[in-house]
Symmetry: C2
Subunit: 321 residues, 2 copies
């Protein structure tokens, strides 16, 4: 849950006066997003989301994130659309924070997604990859090989607190990935964090993708490997190949994978499992007890990583062609 900055109705009205947003009727801080403060506004023109960007988001990245949402929504992807101010800017300031006004998407994220939902997610991910073509701003993936090494340097001395022998295991995995990471695969804008809480559904229909604040440029199929990690394992740690099959089929129904992409899927899945393991490990070791944020167990992604280490081909994830 996240509301880090309170706002007064007078400041908010001054802020809204810079937009064609209608008359303010109410605003409520909402318990969504962990990086920013989010408010749900009701205006005479309808509901809107107001996001205040807190310190964890790099201000220089905001034009990339907001521009991307604008680009994707323009191309018909159902994602939040930043409203331009009367002067054309997508970004304003409120209570001393960079702030944006964003369209509200109806829909709910699924606590218990099924295979049919995974198919829709695969499809929407590929649609996002296609819609991202032509977006001219660039943002390197800060959480790829180099970023993993940096994170690991900060955590490795205490890694054995989480599981004995981890220091050697993860060190070896990072060396392996550095050695074997693909060099050339189709690249583009990836979401990089398309977990269930970032995908809305109305009944069984996908109604939108949200939270583009990890988006960056990387291999497109790496994004699919993130979704496989995020959607296709059961709570008990088992890989659900029916979900994997649906996810990959959905993706390929829009954007078929090349042979090289398919062949790279197992190592990319190792990389993305490692990525979430490392950020969770770092947060686990550094978040003070009693803090507002719920700590996520890094072991979940250690188990996923070990699963992927035994995978030899994309067929084992459920890829049928």
């Amino acid at each position: 849950m996240a509301v880090y900055t309170d706002i007064t109705e007078t400041d908010l009205k001054d802020f809204l006066a810079q937009y064609e947003a209608g008359e303010l009727l109410s605003y409520k801080g909402i318990a969504e997003g962990v990086e920013n403060s989010n408010f749900l506004l009701h205006t005479s023109k309808g509901p809107l989301i107001l996001t205040l960007y807190e310190k964890r988001v790099e201000k220089n990245d905001l034009p990339f994130f907001l521009g991307l949402m604008h680009h994707l929504a323009d191309r018909g992807l159902s994602c939040p659309l930043p409203l331009p101010r009367k002067d054309g800017a997508l970004l304003g300031e409120l209570s001393g924070r960079p702030a944006a006004l964003i369209s509200f998407l109806e829909g709910m994220w699924l606590r218990k997604p099924e295979a049919k939902h995974c198919r829709e997610v695969g499809k929407a991910l590929a649609q996002m990859h296609v819609a991202g073509e032509g977006f001219t701003l660039k943002r390197p993936n800060a959480l790829s090989l180099e970023g993993w090494k940096t994170l690991w340097e900060k955590s490795k001395d205490r890694a054995d607190e989480v599981e004995k022998g981890l220091e050697g295991d993860i060190g070896g995995e990072i060396a392996f990935l550095a050695e074997n990471w693909p060099k050339e695969l189709p690249e583009g804008v990836i979401h990089a964090d398309l977990f269930p809480d970032n995908v809305f559904f109305l009944e069984d229909e996908l109604s939108g993708l949200i939270d583009f604040y990890f988006a960056c440029n990387d291999f497109l199929v790496y994004d699919l490997s993130i979704c496989i990690n995020a959607w296709c394992f059961e709570k008990d740690g088992a890989y659900n190949v029916t979900k994997g099959m649906a996810m990959i089929e959905g993706y390929q129904s829009v954007r078929p994978l090349s042979d090289a992409e398919a062949a790279a899927l197992p190592i990319l899945a190792r990389g993305s499992a490692l990525r979430f393991f490392l950020t969770r490990l770092y947060d686990w070791l550094t978040t003070p007890a009693g803090a507002l944020v719920v700590k996520k167990d890094p072991l979940e992604y250690l188990h996923k990583l070990r699963f992927h280490q035994k995978i030899a081909s994309a067929a084992e994830y459920g890829m049928t062609r």
Copy 2:
């Protein structure tokens, strides 16, 4: 901020099926209320508030609170209206908690209320007192003389941690109030917690009163003394007699105070300042460091109490007749 219980969209849909609430479009946990978990729902019929009652609310009191909101809304007061289920019940269950679906009020609470707003609050408080007539359920005020003694017993040994000499001062005050508390004044249903965050405005017009979860039966004018404490002091501790005058005039424009009520105002204001001092002191001493809840400084109400101890008549609060 408060979302203590997460809910799944499937459980929520099952819950909503018991109401004529339309089709669910979205739900967001909102950062409002400290006792309960609150969600803002969008449905095809409009917005609604879903409240899950957490452990701090006594389940046996819920029929009083929900019945009261229904009674007041029926009589034209702008306050949240609990929706009845198809079977007529106002209370259901969700995620193992008692839960109610309540109409959504547009409006915003004022971070910096002015005298004109205090007048509206006084008026609305009196309207609530009049509208409460005929409500048949009863709930004694658990936070009056006897409740203060109990709270004080739990805190007094550590009171000097907050300010030296406090143990003697507050002990003496409680004895004084027990001796001099009024015996007979007009009684009825009071809100008992009408702070600025429980009053919504649209522009300068009061649009509704919320949060009836401290409501109870007590002297009506005691409720006015709570509002004087909550609305008419400045951040620096100064009493703003212009606000007090507006508050009392607004109240009397709907329900004139008797001479006995006016005469009792200073001692009742001492009592209500003590009441908030004692609950804040108790929370201050017992809330663990790093807990989710923001601790409110008990000293604010100690200063108010000392102000009231020097007041001889309601005229000093701004009462003009």
